[in-house]
Amino acid sequence: MTVATDVDYERVLLPHPGRGEPVGLEEYRAASGYAGWQKALTSMTPDQVIDVVKASGLRGRGGAGFPTGTKWSFIPKAPGAKYVAVNADESEPGTFKDRELMEVEPHRVLEGVALCCYAIGSETAFIYVRGEYVRAADRLEAAIAEAEAAGILGRGCCGTSVNVTIIVFRGAGAYICGEETALLESLEGKRPMPRSRPPFPAVEGLYRRPTVINNVETLANVPSIIDRGSDWYNTIGVPPRNTGPKIFCLSGRVNRPGNYELPLGSVTIRQLIDDYGQGVIGGRAVKGVLTAGVSAPILTADKLDTRLDYDSVQAAGSMLGSASLIVLDEDTCIVRAAALMEEFFRHESCGKCTPCREGTSWLFTVLTRIEAGRGVPGDLELLLSLSGEISGKVLCALGDFATSPVVATVKQYREEYERHIHEGRCPYEPW
């Protein structure tokens, strides 16, 4: 197999692609594992750690892309308990990067968590793993036990007076727990519904204490940043705003779906599909590509040469988000795809706020009706109007994102919708 795009990059996050067994403590340490942790504990102050992470340009990898160092610097310096919550709820359709990180590189994740704790003055971190990721949760717990037995984590890390306790918490099956304040509610044993903000978690988070919430992949970047420095990190990707490696999750109608770790901005969508994903199944044409699971507007086939970094994808009219690329081909009924995406949001809406709870239901019903051939003129205006009643009016991002499948497909594939309405049927073969 030849890779047409020649990206000169030595993997940092997942050095063993295709591996199923976890990297144990000894193997991790032999490859400079916990060197960053050691360095921070013995020769850096917490503020220096924050500064290096800031200088690296690392942005949150969970979807929002918020500068990580800046987020850590929001934590007040006043004494008192502070917490780190790791968002391992990975539930966005088409996303499986955190899963591989936790299952294969648990120590890398733990080291990143520990560095975050040190940087913000927290002694306790909770890794909130979605309940379905049983293997990932088990392996994290085993790795924690290994690290504590070796004195790397727990009380008195690496012989210093720094204490870091990492606790794995298993979710119970709700996408909304990936919303940071809903995650906190769930950790506190309550019904996971997002909180009103302000106050923001940096001020009042877990148990109303200052809390940093970071995605698994974000934290997995931190050990090498501390070990090798922010200057090194800035040689990967496109500084200043798109630095570092990203694990791209490729799925959909491609021959080789999977996780692909590449520098931000090093490939275009087309190159990822053709050179890494081995092209579309059956050589069919691409109809559209989702870039951030189901939460961002679909990009039409004419956008395939968009570079895969935050800024470029935004300029193309969508969002990189968690970089979960789902490829739809020419045989895909876009209306059906939109209905399925809306069904996801309807099912996962927590129900707290009116527009999301009622709106996702209504949108789904209309889309289903159109797909089944019972659409009527005016339905498309209704869909767009309802989306306007939801977007910007809701308590959390789920509601906003729930309008993406509808608005982006109606605007960019309008003829396909109109065909369904006028012909009174779906013109495509059922899947």
Binding site: R191, S196, G351, T354, P355, G359, T360, K393, L395
Partner: protein, 627 residues
Amino acid sequence: MSVTFTRAAARTSHGDVTQQPSETVKLTIDGTELEAPKGTLLVEAARLIGLEIPVFCYESRLKPVGACRMCLVQIEKLPRLQTACTTPVAADMIVHTTTPDVVQAQNGVLELLLANHPLDCPICDKGGECPLQDNTFKHGPGVSRFTEEKRHKEKAFPLGPEIVLDRERCIMCYRCVRFHQEIPGDEALAAVQRGADSEIATLDGEPYTSIFAGNTIELCPVGALTSKRYRFKARPWDLVRTASVCNGCAVGCNVEVHSRSEKVLRLTSRRNVEIDDGWLCDRGRFETLPTPPEERALRPMVRNADGQLQPATWAEALTRAADILGSSGGVLASAGLSNEAFWVLERISQRLPGALWPPAGETWPVEGRIANLQRCKSIVLVGLDAWEELPVLALWIRRAVLSGAKLTVLGDKNGLWRSTATWLKGDPLTHLDEIEPAEGPAALLAHPSLIGTARARLEALAARVGATAETGMLGAPLLGANGRGAQEIASSITRGDVDQVLTAKGILAVGDEPWTNLRAGSFARVVLVTSGPFADVPQADVVLPMAHPYERQASICNLEGRVQHQEGGASPPPLARADWGIAAELAARLSIGTAGADSLEQIRRRIADEHPTLAEILHEEEVLVRA
């Protein structure tokens, strides 16, 4: 125009309403400049200038959640619309509540709520007092675009003995769930399932039996939680509403009596921030209503030679009563009688020995105000299960505990167990010496049955924990609705010996009590004055029909010693009379002087003269600070 507000009206959602922050903030709402205390939520700030921002999930006594999105407003410099219920005022904030964006948002929220809301208005109890109806008229779209099948859920679900739940109508505002989490803390309701399948339920399908369940009827902004007893009985616009006071217990929660065609149909709260803060318990709300006419005496009755009770005229009945009581008589008075009745009965009991019935124990009159409780740092309950006996008072105790107070309970029964720091079971008097003194304002309340033997020890304990009238509360309240009034005005009766009265040959039994349990001497004849059931009181030779507390104009004292007026609510049966009126007639027949006082005003004047602390009896009820 600039308006300044610094008084209690501008309170934050659920803090101590009697102490206000002194710092204020200037802001502008819809072009009107105003100053509001720091921390005021925008919804409340708008009310200061007479602007009602529409809400559903917001309730001033609960923490705001920003769930329903009805109160979205535009705040300059912020890109998205913000919920007014969760946003506190900020200096120089400029708010707009009527822009096209805001109107579109309001239309949208209502359209989405109404999409699946059943068209039940014609059969829904809430119609006419329904915030969803009202907001739709004011802020909703004129037509519905929803042409799909509406979502169906369970209707008329018997959630509990008093509450019917219609799950289709529920708009998931969570007020009911939040109420139970925050106020009584008994978590009696929960939201289950997710998204559009969300529902209100009890955990594990247990019946909804919280003693505070009825409050959710008033909280629910739609007809989802409704009263089983009141179901289908009236429309709000048919009701006559009268200010009164609950006659259930010594807390004296303020209520509105709602009646239709002179029949009392329901009570609602009439928020008094110093006594009940708008809450009622189910006993007061549901069980203090008048006895149905078929079960009560509508006219005077006299037992004939065959042992049958026969209707009689007032003159006949009173003559017979005087005969019975004249030679060897005694008085048993319910603690639910009015101040005015007690004044007359005290006169009567100078000649006829009197006592409270059921026996209420000895008295240690309570000092201190209910509103002090929220500032107490330690609270001790000796043998007193406040949750059971004085439920709304228990809510104040819980509020204090949520602010950091330590609650110590002595005794076996403790409905406040969730909020209790130290619970010493067994005989309360054996634990008195274990109570540590504590810092800060304190309260100590004891059950009146303990006062006879242990008053001095309890007073010493109150001193040791620092319970004073100025900053806290201390005493042993008589638990009936007007035990305090009896204490103040009819001390012979409150100190009277029940057993002595029970040996009398003629017993005057006055009030609404379970007289069927009365065990008098076998030769005793009873003159029964009641608005309750009478047919099963074995020795009642005379029955005089009394007006029910919600049918009388009278006054009672709550445990604080606060005089409150009951202004009627429905007319009593035509031949029934108020308790004080019947007592005055009897006094006259027994030639017992009432110093010329035989009208309501005259009796009140005498009470005010003889008991200066009750001077309020002369004034019309002041409606205290409203939300």
